[in-house]
């Protein structure tokens, strides 16, 4: 009878232990939500860079003491997680009426990521960018499997009560391509190459891109501490 404890069994188990140790170590150190590229701070007021921020979509008071800039790709799983949890809640709790200004930038990394970004910008034309953004992330499993995702986007526009005909003409004609290109170009000018990338008051967020940490920083900024 063959038995792992037989001839050469010890060496086999040493190899198994080695694979488990190396594999486990690599899994834990392979990078995580906190991993960010080395980016320079962004000037928040005045200058050419600040002027380019118009390519983003802003929510919140113009003079809010806390400003979060977020660059996302609609097909990026971690962008989906960040927007679906921390992003959405922070915007609800602090940008609607509080001390936070949130500026969202579409940053499509892949050819398939452009269509949803264009759709989000088309919804923006009808004042529903944030609603469409939430929907696109929530329903990514639905539209990402479509050969022509615009069909799904048009369904979503109806769900959001948009003028579906105008929206259809917008997405099919890629009328907002220039807006997405400008948003992406702005991110590239900052050296961004991965998503999600988040800035808090002009500083790239290098650690703690979660609700609790960002909330603390928003509250500190509101109290004049940051």
């Amino acid at each position: 009878m063959a038995n792992a404890k037989g001839k050469g069994g010890k060496g086999f188990y040493i190899l198994v232990a080695a694979v488990v140790a190396v594999g486990g170590f690599l899994l834990m150190t392979a990078g995580g939500p906190d991993e960010v590229p080395d980016l320079a701070p962004v000037a928040l007021a005045g200058g050419a860079i600040a002027a380019d921020m118009s390519s983003g979509t802003a929510m919140g008071a113009e003079d809010a003491p806390a400003v979060i800039m977020e660059f996302s790709d609609f097909l990026c799983p971690h962008c989906r997680q960040f927007n679906g949890l921390s992003g959405k809640l922070l915007r609800q709790n602090y940008a609607d009426t509080g001390p936070l200004k949130w500026i969202s930038f579409d940053f499509p990394l892949w050819p398939e990521s452009w269509a949803p970004a264009i759709a989000a910008q088309c919804a923006k034309r009808q004042g529903k960018y944030w609603e469409m953004k939430d929907l696109l992330f929530a329903r990514v499993d639905g539209w990402s499997r479509e050969g022509n995702p615009n069909r799904k986007f048009i369904e979503y526009s109806k769900d959001l009560g948009l003028d579906a005909d105008a929206f259809k003409a917008c997405v099919d004609g890629q009328e907002t391509l220039a807006e997405v290109q400008a948003s992406k170009a702005y991110g590239e000018s900052l050296g961004i190459s991965s998503t999600p990338t988040v800035y808090f008051n002009g500083e790239p967020v290098t650690r703690g891109m979660d609700y609790g940490n960002l909330e603390e920083r928003i509250q500190a900024a509101a109290a004049g501490g940051e």
């Binding site: 050469g8 086999f12 488990v20 892949w110």
Partner: protein, 148 residues
């Protein structure tokens, strides 16, 4: 190569594959910001509609498959050594794994025109497991298990 050596090799390869599949699964769940991808277009492949099969994430299926093969290999090395049903299960699992791997590789090359380094590694591991498991042994008239 003895049957025991082959099973040990299958167990080790399945263990490596298990880590690869778990890594890709954690990425799909959003645990990692970006995939470590030395060469190829990992994120294009992982973000495509083909990253799911029958509604389930392909890396999850891979995790279950590698885990299953690992368990079968350990069973064959220990308590259930030489059992016919185990040979049949291992043969079915490794053949299914090979076919699924061929399908995924075809999707990458012919439809997505993007290759994911981790998928290539997984495909190589799957082929190696198939060759080592020699599923054709269970066919009528084939040499008995353990021969060769």
């Amino acid at each position: 190569m003895s049957n025991e050596t082959r099973l040990r090799a299958i167990a080790l390869i399945a263990l490596v594959g298990l880590f690869v599949a778990v890594y890709l699964w954690l990425y799909q769940m959003g645990f990692y910001g970006a995939l470590l991808c030395g060469a190829g277009s990992c994120e294009v492949v992982q973000a495509s509609k083909y990253a799911r099969f029958l509604g389930q994430p392909v890396p999850l299926l891979g995790t279950l498959w590698y885990g299953g093969v690992l368990v079968l290999a350990f069973l064959a090395l220990g308590p259930a050594s030489g059992r016919r049903w185990l040979d049949v299960l291992l043969a079915l699992a490794t053949t299914g794994g090979l076919l699924f791997s061929i399908y995924l590789t075809a999707v990458e090359l012919l439809i997505l025109h993007a290759v994911c380094m981790w998928c290539v590694i997984s495909a190589v591991l799957t082929v190696a497991i198939f060759v080592l498991a020699r599923p054709w042994r269970i066919l009528p008239g084939a040499a008995p298990a353990g021969a060769g």
